[in-house]
């Protein structure tokens, strides 16, 4: 890997972001804790009624994971924008879309993956049955990269504006309504013993498409954001 070559650049970006995540490994734990906390808040608000909780379990866990990811999105480009390293990335002699793809990958690895690991536990605290739990994990494995990619495009669009987290939530939530519907649909079908493969397949198809389009869109959006 010659310095400055494409693979070296990809590796440099990926390594940098994972290293930063590791330096702040406390921050990796935080979305997980956040999800844990939001999930525990629901029984307090709804009352300790096991039946009721089991009925809302799948939906609550999905929404919670979504919210936790949402909060972490702000850290995708903003710190880089504020300390000037995003400009350095944009001025580098490498395709920006690919570099951003690496950043998104690193971000998914460090935020979504821990959430997926913890999700089954959250679900069973709310008494989701075990077989639905497996489908929940599958749904999350497809839905979270999708959310990461969608989120990245929007973060890029809002990067130039000052306010962030909230604006992002606002823009991302309508986009994730379909994702939530399909994922929650799969889980609730599994819970009721119905076939659940179709919604997952739809999500998979969307993921394949976005894997290519999102980094490109991201790059375009960032160029606009920095220009303004």
């Amino acid at each position: 890997m010659r310095p400055g070559s494409l693979s070296a650049a990809c590796a440099a970006v990926l390594r940098r972001d994972l290293l930063l995540a590791w330096r702040r490994r406390g921050d990796i734990a935080l979305p997980v804790l956040y999800a844990l906390i939001v999930t525990t808040l629901f029984p307090f608000a709804l009352g300790p009624n096991d039946d009721l909780l089991a009925r809302v379990a799948g939906g609550v866990v999905l929404v919670t994971v979504l919210l936790a990811m949402l909060l972490a999105f702000d850290a995708l480009f903003r710190p880089d924008l504020e300390d000037g390293s995003l400009e350095q990335l944009m001025l580098a002699p490498q395709p920006l879309a690919l570099m951003l793809g690496m950043k998104i990958l690193a971000h998914w690895l460090s935020t979504a993956l821990p959430l997926i690991v913890i999700a089954p536990m959250l679900a069973s605290m709310l008494h989701l049955p075990a077989h639905a739990n497996a489908v929940l994990i599958l749904a999350l494995l497809v839905a979270t990269p999708l959310l990461s990619l969608l989120g990245a495009v929007l973060v890029a669009l809002t990067a130039g504006t000052r306010r962030s987290g909230m604006l992002l939530a606002l823009m991302l939530l309508p986009l994730c309504v379909p994702v939530v519907i399909f994922a929650a649909g799969a889980v609730s079908a599994a819970q009721q013993g119905l076939p659940w493969i179709a919604p997952i397949a739809w999500l998979g198809a969307a993921l394949a498409l976005l894997l290519i389009l999102a980094p490109l869109a991201c790059a375009a959006a960032l160029r606009i954001a920095v220009d303004a």
Partner: protein, 211 residues
């Protein structure tokens, strides 16, 4: 050092204008930057020096005029990596050490021959601080970490926005030496400063912005 009859200009601007809300931030500017030359951009606070650099580097879009690189219209795709920009914001990650920061820059921009990030840090006077997180460095030490990038990255045009701010005298001398050496080796440098540029041989060319 200043070549008055340039062979071909590395970077040329013709009628370059940038507007903010239809008022020019800097007027139509014409200048040429040749290999081996240093151009000192002067102007009062708020006269548009930073803005000019951001336009050249492609972070802002000029409203009129043309930029040429090696005589041909500037193509951002081809020209990337040729120009190195040191901005007010230094582009350092506060959680990484100076060394790790430089390694990223090298991965992205490539590396000159016969120099390593460690040596570059040594040159800018940061030996002993290689593994300290940048967050814990003083204002001047941060600036020095950013300057080390100049030594490593194989770009021939340097745009330096107030490289002297926050540096002590030895640091100022260091930057002057770096600029001179780069110009002598056939590079071109554009610097903004409020009066700390002093060279051993010759005077830099000046471009005065007035707002």
């Amino acid at each position: 050092m200043t070549t008055e009859n340039p062979p071909t200009a590395l970077l040329e601007a013709e009628g370059l204008t940038f507007l903010r809300q239809d008022e020019p931030v800097f007027g139509p500017l014409d200048f040429a930057l040749c290999a081996g030359e240093v151009l000192l951009v002067e102007g009062d606070n708020g006269s548009g020096k930073t803005t000019l650099m951001r336009v050249i580097v492609g972070l802002l879009r000029a409203d009129a005029g043309e930029l040429r690189l090696d005589g041909a219209a500037l193509d951002r795709e081809l020209s990337r990596g040729r120009i190195l920009f040191l901005a007010h914001h230094l582009g350092l990650k506060a959680d990484l050490s100076p060394l790790e920061n430089l390694r990223v820059a090298v991965g992205l921009y490539g590396c000159r021959e016969a120099i390593t990030p460690e040596q570059a840090l040594h040159t800018v006077g940061l030996q002993g601080y290689e593994h300290e997180p940048v967050r814990q460095l003083s204002a001047g030490q941060k600036k020095r970490s950013a300057l080390a990038r100049l030594l490593l990255v194989p770009a021939d045009i340097w745009l330096l926005d107030e490289p002297f701010a926050n540096l002590d005298r030895e640091g100022i001398a260091l930057v002057n030496r770096l600029i001179e050496r780069h110009a002598d080796a056939g590079g071109a440098v554009m610097v903004t400063s409020h009066g700390a540029v002093t060279f051993l041989h010759g005077e830099p060319r000046r471009l005065r912005l007035s707002a």
